[in-house]
């Protein structure tokens, strides 16, 4: 039996995704559903399978239960293996120390023994919050050809957006000269995708040194990469061309979902989900095919399995087991699994989370042109004939607060009424 792997992937999946609230209220960001039937983490995991990497450590931390259930033994991604395969790696306790992951580098440091177990020549570091289809093997070939210590995948971004990213300044051969995190005046447009390949020995050396440094924040972008650059290590940028989106905010999450609908071959860098040569694998729910009723009108949309559609759906992404009743109208929206839109309700430019029920004749959201995205959080039941304004975010807490305020107002009114009654009585007595 081979006791060694060429390349092991470490997938950072512990992110909270606070900017994606309320979608990340109960799940880690990588477990957030995407594209009518996937979850965000399916993309890096499928990329691994499609790139021939069969050993993946998934570092979990924030709300791991649903993510762990979803990953299971890794069988949807062919990662259930005797030697290698998928392993979830949570933070853990030892006699001397116990700690949450302090930073991305510390997360890997805590699991050095996992890497050592497979004795790989190279370690691929991935993050679980981007939508893209990338052949990591091509990047690894470049890394090997360059005799690099570290290769960082970069993507060409628009000049005006460059200051939102970590920017690599390179020479003409791609060797990295300088790395700037969110520079005010970017010198190039090569943004880091958060995908790194390290030669294992070098990675381990720097992780151990970094851990020993009490000043360090134990982060790849802030500590490890700058330190390696300072030491004049061989570091190269690998230019990735293709669809890549960060889905870190509600707006970018919505727009990436809309990208998943597009099948226009004239758009060069688009997200192709039905490419048999580069499938995105996922864990399936048990459900039947979708049914479109007599008055259904579905155009420009993608739908998951088990949907029951009797109303109108335009330019939207519907996940598994969504029900759209007759006379309901959904436009420019993302409707997550198990949601039900009742008769006569209208939903526009919104994200409706899982198991939400939108009551009859409700109006949710405004037009795309308004630029204000509405969100209804998981499991909320919006009563009949409610109006949810454009840009409004409905969560359980918001509802509770509202209900409480109502109660208080009622109590106040009650007290006032009682007082008035008592006063009247007293007066009458007098």
């Amino acid at each position: 039996m081979i006791k060694r792997k060429k390349c092991v992937a470490m997938l950072l999946a512990g992110g909270q995704g606070s900017r994606l609230m309320p979608l990340t209220d109960s799940v880690a960001k990588p477990a957030v559903p995407f594209g009518a039937r996937y979850r965000i983490i399916d993309f890096p995991l499928s990329n691994c399978l499609n790139s021939g990497i069969d050993t993946v450590g998934v570092l979990t931390q924030y709300r791991p239960m649903e993510l762990n259930d979803y990953l299971g033994m890794g069988e949807p991604w062919d990662l259930n293996r005797r030697f290698g395969g998928l392993h979830t790696l949570p933070p853990y306790m030892t006699g001397k120390r116990s700690d949450w992951f302090k930073g991305t580098a510390n997360a890997i440091y805590q699991h050095i023994s996992f890497i050592k177990n497979y004795d790989p020549e190279y370690v691929l570091i991935l993050s679980g919050d981007h939508i893209y289809k990338m052949n990591y093997d091509l990047m690894l070939q470049e890394h090997i050809k360059n005799h690099a210590d570290c290769t960082i995948a970069v993507i060409d971004v628009a000049k005006e957006e460059a200051s939102r990213f970590g920017i690599m300044n390179t020479d003409e051969r791609g060797r990295i000269l300088e790395f700037e995190e969110k520079p005010a005046h970017p010198k190039s447009t090569q943004a880091s995708m958060g995908v790194y390949i390290f030669t294992t020995d070098v990675l381990l050396k720097y992780l151990i040194e970094d851990e020993a440094n009490p000043e360090s924040s134990n982060d790849f972008g802030k500590d490890i990469i700058p330190k390696m650059l300072a030491d004049n290590r061989r570091m190269f940028a690998y230019l990735y061309k293709g669809y890549w989106r960060d889905v870190g905010t509600l707006d970018s999450y919505w727009s990436a979902n809309m990208d998943a609908i597009c099948m226009d071959p004239s758009i060069k860098e688009r997200l192709v989900l039905n490419d048999p040569g580069w499938k995105i694998y996922y864990r399936h729910l048990l459900n039947e095919p979708q049914y479109l009723g007599d008055h259904a009108d579905v155009t420009g949309s993608i739908l998951g399995s088990g949907c029951d559609i009797y109303g109108k759906v335009q330019h939207s992404v519907l996940f598994d087991n969504v029900t759209i009743e007759q006379g309901a109208w959904v436009k420019d929206s993302v409707i997550l699994g198990g949601a039900r839109i009742r008769k006569g309700a209208k939903v526009e430019y919104s994200i409706i989370a899982g198991d939400v029920e939108i009551g009859e004749d409700c109006t949710v959201g405004g037009s795309v042109e308004s630029g204000k995205l509405s969100v209804v959080a998981m499991g909320i039941h919006v009563p009949d004939e409610t109006k949810v304004e454009a840009g409004e975010i409905i969560t359980a807490e918001a509802e509770e607060a509202e209900a409480e305020a109502e109660k208080k107002a009622e109590k106040k009114a009650d007290k006032k009424a009682k007082k008035a009654a008592a006063d009247a009585e007293a007066k009458a007595e007098k």
Partner: protein, 324 residues
């Protein structure tokens, strides 16, 4: 799972049975291909009796007390535990699954198919059994499944001394009925028969009825589990027009579909019109083509502007990989 012929696709579908939680150390799915020897090359020409006879050693090797023998059709969602409880409660020797609603649904009147009819008393005791092609309105019709004790089944098989080419329902079961102890367990679950091409089309189109879908897919008996292929979501183009249809995942619909069943990975081109049809996996209906009462097998390709039409009793059929 006893294979008879052309079972490669079936084996590919079931694999080791993991999808149905049947890849087990104890028990689980075992595939039993037809058994041919130099003396006996007739492994293919066989019925249930011969299938059981040839797999006698497998039946001997398993440890379970009871054995359920069933076919794949009719399509229905049933809980065999209920049937086993009935069997135990009546201390039956053999329990046959039975329905009295066979003739209630016109799609079941598939001509030329021999069915097993029984005389059954109030409690469920079977007193007579007959195989005939004639449908009996309100009669007790056997629905292709029976339970008995495994060792009893072996004894019954041994009692025929390896005699070949007997029929279970014509020779073996009538004898058991005479001996007594055969019971009929009535089911009222929806049953869809797929024994003829027109029956296949009609039964498929029955899925368009909400009560049929509920009975098959949302039964309290449990979900229907199938192998998945990680298809992309179903895509509806800007001019898609789909009404009263069941559409599987990975399909791309750009044209018009009504009253039809569309399988995984099917492509319906712009301005194509598909109605009252079944289009199986990975088939393509090109721009402007029209189908009415057609059944397309897997990977069929219909060129642009072709017009194919049959009728509900005589569907237009395209075999696998056909190109029109």
């Amino acid at each position: 799972m006893v294979g008879r012929e052309k079972y490669q696709s079936l084996m590919g579908h079931t694999g080791g049975g993991a999808v149905w939680d049947l890849e087990r150390k104890r028990g689980g799915l075992t595939f039993l291909p037809p058994f041919s020897t130099e003396q006996n090359t007739s492994g293919l020409k066989r019925n249930r009796y011969n299938a059981l006879l040839e797999n006698e050693s497998y039946i001997r090797s398993v440890k379970e007390k009871y054995i359920l023998v069933t076919g794949c059709t009719p399509v229905m969602n049933v809980d065999y535990n209920k049937m086993l409880q009935f069997h135990q409660m009546h201390n039956a020797r053999m329990t046959m699954r039975m329905t009295i609603m066979y003739t209630n649904h016109p799609i079941n009147a598939q001509e030329g198919i021999a069915r097993t009819w029984m005389e059954v008393d109030k409690e469920g005791r079977v007193s007579d059994i007959e195989v005939t092609r004639e449908a009996k309105v309100g009669g007790h019709c056997a629905v292709g499944a029976f339970i008995l004790e495994r060792e009893d089944l072996l004894d019954i098989l041994y009692s025929y001394n390896g005699q070949k080419n007997l029929s279970l329902r014509k020779d073996v079961v009538p004898k058991l009925v005479d001996q007594g102890g055969v019971w009929a367990y009535g089911v009222d679950e929806m049953a869809l028969y797929l024994d003829t091409l027109s029956g296949y089309l009609e039964s498929s189109l029955a899925l368009l009825r909400p009560d049929v879908r509920r009975a098959l897919f949302h039964s309290e008996n449990g979900p229907v589990i199938t192998k998945v292929s990680d298809s992309a979501p179903t895509h509806y183009g800007p001019h898609a027009n789909v009404t009263n249809s069941v559409i599987a995942d990975g399909a791309v619909i750009e044209g018009n579909v009504s009253n039809s069943i569309i399988f995984r990975g099917v492509h319906i081109g712009k301005d194509a019109i598909v109605s009252n049809s079944v289009v199986m996996q990975d088939s393509t209906v090109s721009d402007g083509a029209r189908l009415n009462y057609a059944v397309l097998d897997k990977s069929v390709y219909i060129n642009s502007d072709r017009i194919l039409s049959g009728y509900v009793t005589h569907p237009f059929f395209c075999k696998r990989d056909d190109r029109i």
